[in-house]
Symmetry: C2
Subunit: 259 residues, 2 copies
């Protein structure tokens, strides 16, 4: 029962809170708590909530974003002493205690059956590339810069092959504990916004570094080094070496979690 807190569920005097948070991932060693005192989103949040409520609070996140990866709609849940703070007011209560690279968007009351990770039915991610010659100083940790022009039409042709249910083994990095490599991508779109290319993907769930590997493969196609027609073969191969590189984290955003 590593990821649940079933003991807490048994207590009648706890309320479960769903909290939506945003963060700039640049100065975090990812979402998940780590040994050795590294700064993580979960770690910061637990310290703040434990101080706020005066009793240890354990935080469960929907997505364990990696070091450098950002979020505008990460969702977490945790249990607080009933009658302490109304769940709807928790976001406002934590706001003043957050470091400048985090924000509390909103909070709501949920039932004890709700779990930020296991109740999720879909997730959206966004990857932003500055595909121009001119650097964007204010977004230097918030977009990936690629000077070489990317062919948008080729990328769009390749994207279509990813939509649907597939074994995404070729796009999973080792290092996670997941076993089932089958995932469903519901939507995958490329939006052009000035000098920015926005890769928008919505899926059931994603394997370890899968979004960054998908975008890395699409960039190979965009550089016209790989044909869009190769995508079905790469998926079929289940061989990580057939796909493109893992893109760096600074362009990646967890957009929201659907329940």
């Amino acid at each position: 029962m590593k990821d649940g807190n079933y003991e807490n569920l048994m207590c009648r005097d706890l309320s479960r809170v769903k909290l939506i948070i945003a963060y700039d991932g640049s100065d975090f060693h990812g979402f998940q708590k780590q040994d050795g005192g590294l700064r993580t989103v979960q770690g910061e949040l637990e310290v703040i909530l434990t101080e706020l409520f005066g009793s240890p609070i354990e935080v469960f996140g929907a997505s364990r974003t990696d070091a450098g990866v950002h979020a505008v709609g990460q969702t977490v849940h945790f249990d607080i002493p009933e009658g302490s703070v109304p769940p709807e007011k928790v976001a406002a209560a934590v706001r003043h205690r957050l470091p400048p690279d985090m924000a509390a968007v909103s909070s709501t009351s949920v039932t004890a059956e709700f779990h930020a990770r296991f109740s999720a039915v879909a997730k959206r991610y966004l990857y932003i590339i500055n595909n121009s010659e001119i650097q964007t100083p204010f977004l230097r940790n918030a977009v990936l810069m690629i000077r070489q022009p990317l062919d948008r039409d080729e990328i769009r042709k390749a994207m279509k092959h990813f939509v649907g249910e597939h074994d995404f083994s070729a796009f999973r990095n080792i290092g996670s504990g997941e076993t089932n490599p089958v995932r469903t991508i519901h939507e995958f779109e490329l939006e052009e916004d000035g000098i920015f290319l926005k890769f928008k993907v919505r899926g059931s769930a994603f394997l370890y570094k899968m979004v960054r590997n998908l975008v890395g493969t699409l960039c190979e196609v965009g550089f016209v080094r790989m044909s869009p027609d190769r995508i079905p073969e790469i998926i079929e191969s289940k061989d990580r070496r057939q796909a493109g590189p893992t893109m760096s984290p600074e362009g990646l955003y967890l957009v929201n979690i659907e329940y």
Copy 2:
């Protein structure tokens, strides 16, 4: 002749370049070169240009922005060996050498009479405040956060009093070498953009920390701690202690220089 390079003007084999640059001021100790190896915009640019052209290049900027102050349209000039790089191509030539917190927007050829600072006829600055309860993690060094609501109407009433030619001694910090405290503000507007308040000012020139002192005074009015009608008295007093505090640099942007 501290701020000119009149010796260079005498040489027939130099071309003068006007370069527009942008930078995130967070990691710079201001624009102006300093002793002790502190990182400055002018210092970075001179090193890059000197490497690029293989001979010492001295850079002259339109505005000596302070530590932490940003620019989207700072203008500089410098002289390069004639026939080395066409002035219009200089921006593209330096782009690849710039650190991620700087950008070269464009470059043009100007005559030897052009001086980035002394030829300027007007300057625009922008100050951005996040006036809400919710932090903006991706803009944490790019806007000032003020949770307490600011009264927009009161601020607008106060702003009108600043427009025109005035002795702005009450809004000048000590530490600059300037003597004449008379400046003209052509336009001063408050724009509401979602959770952001944008103070936009255009003037002939500005005294040391003047924009930050103007915004600091307007915030006193916005907090309804000072009446807008006090502004003419404060201007008249020429007494720095009568005006509001110097706002912190992270909200301030040099927008552009007019020639």
